[in-house]
Structure formats: C-alpha cells, structure tokens
Amino acid sequence: MTGNATSHAWSSQQGAAALAAPSLAEKRRAFDWRILLGFLLPIAVALLWEAAVRFGLAQGRLVPPPSRIFAALWSLAETGELWTHVWTTLWRVLTGFIIGAVTGIVFGALSGSGETVRRLLDPTLQALRAIPSIAWVPLFILWLGIFEASKVALIAVGVFFPVYLGIAGAILSVDRKLVEVGHVFRLSRFKLAKRILLPAVLPEAVIALRSGLGLGFMFVVAAEFMGASEGLGYLLVDGQQMGKPDQILAAIIAFALLGKLADSLLVLLTKPLVRWQDTVRERL
C-alpha cells in the first residue's frame, strides 16, 4: 500500500514537472539527441565499406576504406606536410576573399545607392558575371604569372560577384518606410546611409559574404589545379597523378572541414551585428 502511495506521489510530481513549461535556459541546455540522427547514414556507410574491404568482399583500391583515408590524413599531419598545404590554401582564400569582398561591397554600394551609377555600372558587371570565372584563368596567367597573384585574382573574381549582387540588391530592397523616418528627422545623405541604410543591409550583406566565401573555396581548388606546388588543391592533383585515392579523399575531407570552419567563423564574427533580427534562425 505504502509503496503504491509513494509511487503515486512520485508520478504526480513528475507530471507537474512535465506540465510546467521548461525555462529558456533549460531548453538551451538540453541537448537535442536528434542531431545525432544526421551522423547515422554516413557512419553506417563508412562502417559497411570498411567491413566489406576487411572481409575481402571489395578491393578498396580505388575507393579506400575510411581507416586508410584517416591513416593518410594522419601521416600527412604528422610530417607537418598537411599544415603547409592548409595554410597555403587558407592564405589564398583569405587574400582573395578580402580583395573580392571589399571591391564587391564598394561597387555594390555604388550601384545600389544611385540610379545613374547603377545604369552606368550594372550592365557591364552583369556581362562580366556571365563569363564563367574559370575562363579567366589563361588570361590571368598571362597577365599575372603562374604564381600567387593569378590564383588570388581568380578567387577574388569568384568572391566579387555574389558580394556585389547581394549588397546592391540589399540596398535596393531597403524599406522605403524606414528611409522616410530618416527624412522626417532630416538626416543628411551621409547620416542616412550610416544610421539607416547600413544597418538595414547588414543581414543580407552577411549572407552575400557567406556565399562569397563558399565560392572562394570553390575557386581556390580551380586555382590550385592550374599549377601549384603547395595547397590542398595540389594534394588533389598529386593524388590523382600518383594514384593515391586515399590522399585525394583526405584532401577533400580537409576542404570540407576548412570550409565549414571558415563559414562558422564568419557567422560568429558577424552575429553581434545582426542580433536584432526577428527571424526564426535562433529557434531553428
């Protein structure tokens, strides 16, 4: 009897706890285990392939099992070779990204802020955008040589267009109603840009920069394909020429990690600027 009663007390207490809405802090602390669901498929495939190769069901020469890929990655890291490649690639992406992003922001702002300037600039830039960026490679090599300058230039071109389009579009889509608030308080053109236009375009500018950065990583591979002695792209080409698929896959994994890391860093750095946004992002 008594046991029954206590268990009743327990369950009602638990029931009350479950009924009470969890506080925000609790919600944030609670780890959502469903995140792990996403890892299930790639890990299962990797384990199956590993097992298939171990038990002799597959050769694994062209598609190496995960253990061999990580061994390749590990040996590259141990000799320090990996870090030279990673730094070289990162340096190229960063320089190209900064040049492309800055010019993209400047031209985007010019084109977004004035009708006349837009009519002057935009058609030319749109025409240039229609050219596949890789098509510039031969010209860049002729102009800038086969070393760093041509590679950085290609990455900068790749970064420029999404940033330009994003910034110009963001400025054009700023809410007229908010601009009118600035007019009512008689803000000068400069003040209007600083106090209303700039903050209003920031969220879209961040998105433009992120897609620019993504393209930067795409173009660094293209740039390193066209003749490099260092960099993750070189590891890819080298792996192909030497018949080392494990090295190719190791470089691909390194690219994936670097790209994700750089993107997260950009999001983290720009987060304080767009904290005010009323979007679902924080709840997702």
Binding site: K177, V184, R186, R195, D278
Partner: protein, 262 residues
C-alpha cells in the same frame, strides 16, 4: 498656427489627390481629418510633413513657409516604423542626436515613463506588442518637442482596448507641451475622443466637405449624451460627404440641428 492655403496635389499619372485645401489650425488645437478611404487624408499629412511636394498652394507654420521636413513638425505613421536594430531607448532618442547625452537621456526616460515602458528600455522592438511599438513611435515623435504633430491613423491596426489606452497616453503626452495635432482617422469615435474639431473630407478629388467643432470638456466621458451626439453629428456629415447629390441643403440643416442640440 498651421495654415494650408489652396493646397493641391496631382500625381504624375494625372490623379487629383487633393484640390484646393484651405485650413488653419490654431496653436494647441487638435484637428482630426476624417473621411472615407481615398479622400487624400494621408496625402495631406505627407505634404505637411514634407515627405511629398504639393502641386500648388502653400503650407505655413507661424508664418514660415514649409518646404520639406521641418524640425518643428513631427509625424507618427500608420505603422510604428521603429528601427529594428535599435533598442526601445535608442529608437526614442533617434531624433535627439544633436542634444547632449544627459539631456537626451532625461528626455527619453521621461517619455518612457509617460508611456509606461520604462522597464522595456533595453529591449528590441520585436519583443514588444503592436500597441507598445506604437507607443514608442509616439514617444519618438514627442521627445523632439514639435509644435505640430501629425498622426496618420496611428491606432487603426490596434484592438479597441489598446486603442483606448493609447488615446490616454497620447493625451497625457499632449498635455505637457500642447502641440498642434493633426490626426487622420476613419474612426468617428476616435475623432470625437481626441479632437477639438473634425474636418470631414470628400474623395475624387480630395477636398474639405465640412468642419464640425467638438467643444466637449476634457477628459471626455465616452458614455455621456454629449459624446453620443457629437458622434452622430460627425457620422451624419460623413454620410452626406459620401452622398453628394443632396449635400448642400443637408449640410445647412445639420448645422442648425447641431445648434439646437446645444
């Protein structure tokens, strides 16, 4: 004294939004512009605010010709139009950049106190309800101490309870500096609650149909007979404004009837 002289507005496509508006509003008077949709109420307000240019006519404030936004003219829009990246405090302080930090802080805090949102000073606009946001917008217009305050249907999107409480907040702020107020509304109750004078407008082209003075003592008792009668008078005038065939005799009779009521 705010004077509108022969004010007209014709849009580029030939639409005549306003034609020959003549109106003068005394210092500290609350005038409500009332009329059906499309009769140019908002256009008139935007002309006074300097957001649009008139096609003909002049707007004078204490004799000074207005051409463009003026520091003594404040406006509250139909939507709050708060800047989402500024806190409530910074939003109210938006027009006070020229003041010293202490003066700015004092004015904003006083306004926050008046609208009852002191504890929300640091929050983002997105965290506020629609009524709270509109209170912030009203405070933003009031802190610059305008001599003319323009209100463009600022309460139209709110429910009746919120609207009634905002009327009180508005009158509370108005009492302090007693600016001239031009209130655009399509709500007769609202016009009678707030205004000293109702200006009934007529569409196509937008023009003034009639003016009715609402000389009820403040604070106004919304359940009293005098209030009811005023509402009826404005409604009658509105009815006639939309029914132009019999406008002239009706208008005269309405005047007489109004005189009898008092």
């Amino acid at each position: 004294m705010l004077e509108l002289e022969h004010l007209s507005k014709t849009y580029a496509d030939g639409t005549r939004a306003l034609s020959d508006i003549n109106l003068s509003v005394r210092q500290a008077e609350i005038v409500s512009l009332i009329g059906g949709s499309g009769c140019g109420k908002t256009t008139l307000l935007r002309l006074i605010a300097g957001l649009d240019r008139s096609s003909a006519g002049a707007i004078r404030l204490d004799g000074e010709l207005l051409s463009g936004p003026h520091p003594s003219v404040g406006i509250v829009f139909q939507e709050p139009r708060l800047l989402p990246w500024l806190s409530v405090f910074e939003n109210i302080a938006f027009g006070l950049e020229h003041l010293g930090a202490n003066e700015r802080k004092a004015r904003v805090e006083h306004a926050l106190d008046k609208i009852g949102l002191s504890e929300h000073a640091k929050r983002w606009p997105r965290d506020l309800s629609g009524g709270q946001q509109q209170r912030v917008a009203i405070a933003r217009a009031f802190v610059t101490n305008p001599t003319v305050l323009l209100l463009d249907e600022p309460f139209s999107a709110l429910d009746a309870f919120t609207r009634a409480s905002l009327h009180e907040h508005l009158l509370g702020l108005w009492e302090e500096t007693r600016p001239t107020v031009v209130l655009v509304t399509h709500d007769v109750q609202e016009a009678v609650t707030l205004a000293d004078r109702a200006v009934v407008m007529q569409p196509k082209p937008g023009r003034i149909f009639d003016e009715l003075s609402l000389t009820l003592s403040r604070p106004r008792d919304k359940t009293g007979l005098a209030f009811e009668n005023s509402v009826r008078r404005v409604l009658t005038a509105l009815d006639h404004s939309l029914n132009p065939s019999q406008q002239q005799p009706q208008r005269e009779r309405d005047r007489q009837a109004a005189a009898l009521w008092w």
